[in-house]
C-alpha cells in the first residue's frame, strides 16, 4: 500500500513530498485543480473538511495539514533516510520550536505575498499594494531574526538539517523564482547560504523537477 498525496502542484503538499523523498518512502500523487475549485468538491471535503491541500491517504488512514503529515512520516520512518527530528528530546524540542516559527511567523506574510503577487490576477482580483508592502516588511523582520540565528547555527534547529528547515522550501522557492524578491534572501549572508544549502538538496531538486509550480508570472 503506497501513500497517496493530493495536490502535488501546490506549495503546502510539496512539504510532504520532499519529506517523503528524504525518508525514502514511496508515494503516489493525485492532482487537485484549485483554480477549478476541485478542493471544494463534496468528495474532496470528505477527505479534508477545511477544503485545503494536502491530504494523504495511507490505506484506510487519512491525514491532513502538511506539518502533521511530515511529523508522522518522519517519526514512523525514523530509522531510514535522513533523520529530520534530531537525536534527543532536546533536539526534537528545537526542531518543533523552529517549525512553529515557520508556521506562525514566516508562513503568514509569505502566504499573503503568494496570493497577492502570484494569484490575484488569476482570481480576477486587484493586487493590494499596501498589503504587499506590509507583508514584505513583516517577512523582512522575520528574516533578520533568521540571519542572526543562522550566524550561530548552520541550520535552524542546530547543526543538523531538520523538518524545521524543510518546511520553508516550497514558499521560499516561490519568493525567489516567481515574485521577483530573491534579494530578500540574497541580501542576508547567512540566510542566503542556508537557502543555497537546503534548496540544492537532491530531494528538493527532484520535487521541482517532477511537480512544476502551477502559477508562473
Amino acid at each position: 500500500m503506497v501513500v497517496k498525496v493530493y495536490g502535488p502542484a501546490y506549495a503546502s503538499p510539496k512539504r510532504v513530498l520532499v519529506c517523503l523523498i528524504e525518508k525514502e518512502v514511496e508515494f503516489e500523487t493525485v492532482p487537485v485543480d484549485l483554480l477549478k475549485g476541485e478542493h471544494k468538491d463534496p468528495e474532496y471535503l470528505k477527505l479534508q473538511p477545511f477544503g485545503t491541500v494536502p491530504v494523504t491517504q495511507d490505506g484506510d488512514y487519512t491525514l491532513y495539514e502538511s506539518r502533521a503529515i511530515m511529523r508522522y512520516y518522519a517519526e514512523k520512518y525514523k530509522s531510514q533516510g535522513t533523520d529530520l527530528l534530531g537525536k534527543t528530546v532536546e533536539e526534537r524540542g528545537l526542531v518543533e520550536n523552529w517549525l512553529e516559527v515557520e508556521a506562525q511567523s514566516y508562513n503568514p506574510p509569505m502566504f499573503t505575498l503568494t496570493v497577492q503577487i502570484m494569484l490575484s490576477s488569476k482570481l480576477g482580483l486587484p493586487r493590494d499594494e499596501n498589503l504587499i508592502k506590509e507583508s514584505e516588511e513583516k517577512l523582512g523582520k522575520v528574516l533578520d531574526i533568521y540571519e542572526e540565528r543562522l550566524s550561530k547555527s548552520k541550520y535552524l534547529a542546530g547543526n543538523f538539517f531538520s523538518l524545521a528547515d524543510l518546511s520553508h522550501l516550497p514558499f521560499t522557492q516561490y519568493l525567489v523564482d516567481h515574485m521577483g524578491k530573491e534579494y530578500m534572501i540574497k541580501s542576508r549572508k547567512h540566510v542566503s547560504a542556508w537557502w543555497d544549502d537546503i534548496s540544492s538538496r537532491p530531494s528538493w531538486q527532484k520535487v521541482l523537477q517532477l511537480y512544476a509550480a502551477p502559477f508562473k508570472n
Binding site: Y64, A68, Y72, G93, N97, A103
Partner: protein
C-alpha cells in the same frame, strides 16, 4: 515585586526521588500563548516557576528577553539547559520529555493517535487561531487598552471563525474530542482564545449556540487544569 509560583508536589512518588528543577515559563498568565503552556504543565503535573514579564513596560522587548525569545513575544521557556519558545512546541516538548507524568494520553499513546492530535493542533494553529486571536484582541483586549476597535476587521474575522466552527461542529458530532475519544493537546490548544471569546466578549454564542461545539467547550473548560489557569489569570490582573 517578584512573584513566582512553584507548585509543591505532595505526591509520594516525588518524595521518593530527588525533586527535579522546576521548569521556567516567562510571561503573564493573561497571555493566551502563556496560558496554553500553563494548561499543559498542569495536565502533565510538571513543576514550574512562572516568571513575570511586564509587557505594559515593554519588558518583552528588552535585550535580555530578546536573548531567550528573539521575536519579543511571550512565552519563553527553560528546562535546565534547554531553551525554547512558541507555545505549541513547548507543549509538545513537555509531553515528550515528561511522557510518564500526569496525563499520559495528552499527546496520544500510539503513532496514529499522535498524528490525529498533530492534525488538529495544526488546524488550531492555521485555521482557528488567526481569526480567533484577532477577535480576542479586538473584543477582549482593545477596550481595556483604550484602543479603538475596527468593526470591519471584527466582521471579517467573525465570518472566518464561523466557517471554521462549522467544520468543528460536524467533527464534534462524530467524536467526543477533536482528535478522538480522549481529551488531548489539540483540544487544550483551543482553551485560551475560546475562554476570552466566551467570557470576555459578546461573541461567545459563536461557540455556545452550536450544539456540539458548546458541549465540547463545556467539557474542556471544566477540567481542573484549565480552572487553575483561569484562577492564575484572575490573581495577576
Amino acid at each position: 515585586m517578584v512573584e513566582s509560583v512553584t507548585r509543591r508536589s505532595t505526591d509520594r512518588q516525588d518524595q521518593k526521588f530527588p525533586m527535579a528543577t522546576p521548569v521556567k515559563v516567562y510571561g503573564p498568565p493573561m497571555s493566551t500563548a502563556v496560558s496554553r503552556v500553563l494548561a499543559c504543565l498542569l495536565e502533565k503535573d510538571v513543576q514550574f516557576q512562572l516568571i513575570p514579564v511586564n509587557m505594559f513596560k515593554g519588558e518583552h522587548k528588552s535585550p535580555d528577553f530578546l536573548k531567550i525569545q528573539p521575536f519579543g513575544q511571550v512565552p519563553a521557556f527553560q528546562d535546565e539547559s534547554t531553551s525554547l519558545f512558541e507555545s505549541r512546541s513547548i507543549c509538545r516538548y513537555l509531553c515528550e520529555k515528561y511522557a510518564e507524568k500526569g496525563n499520559t494520553g495528552l499527546y496520544g499513546t500510539n503513532p496514529l493517535a499522535k498524528a490525529s492530535i498533530d492534525q488538529w493542533l495544526e488546524a488550531e494553529g492555521q485555521s482557528f487561531n488567526p481569526p480567533s486571536s484577532v477577535l480576542v484582541f479586538q473584543l477582549a483586549f482593545a477596550p481595556r487598552m483604550k484602543i479603538k476597535q475596527d468593526q470591519a476587521v471584527i466582521n471579517e474575522n467573525e465570518q472566518k471563525l464561523a466557517k471554521v466552527l462549522e467544520v468543528y461542529e460536524k467533527r464534534l458530532g462524530e467524536s467526543r474530542f477533536l482528535a478522538g475519544d480522549e481529551f488531548s493537546l489539540a483540544d487544550l490548544s483551543h482553551l485560551p482564545n475560546t475562554h476570552y471569546l466566551v467570557n470576555a466578549s459578546d461573541r461567545g454564542e459563536l461557540f455556545t449556540f452550536k450544539k456540539n461545539v458548546g458541549r465540547w467547550w463545556g467539557e474542556i473548560s471544566s477540567r481542573d487544569s484549565w480552572k487553575k489557569v483561569v484562577e492564575m489569570q484572575k490573581q495577576t490582573t
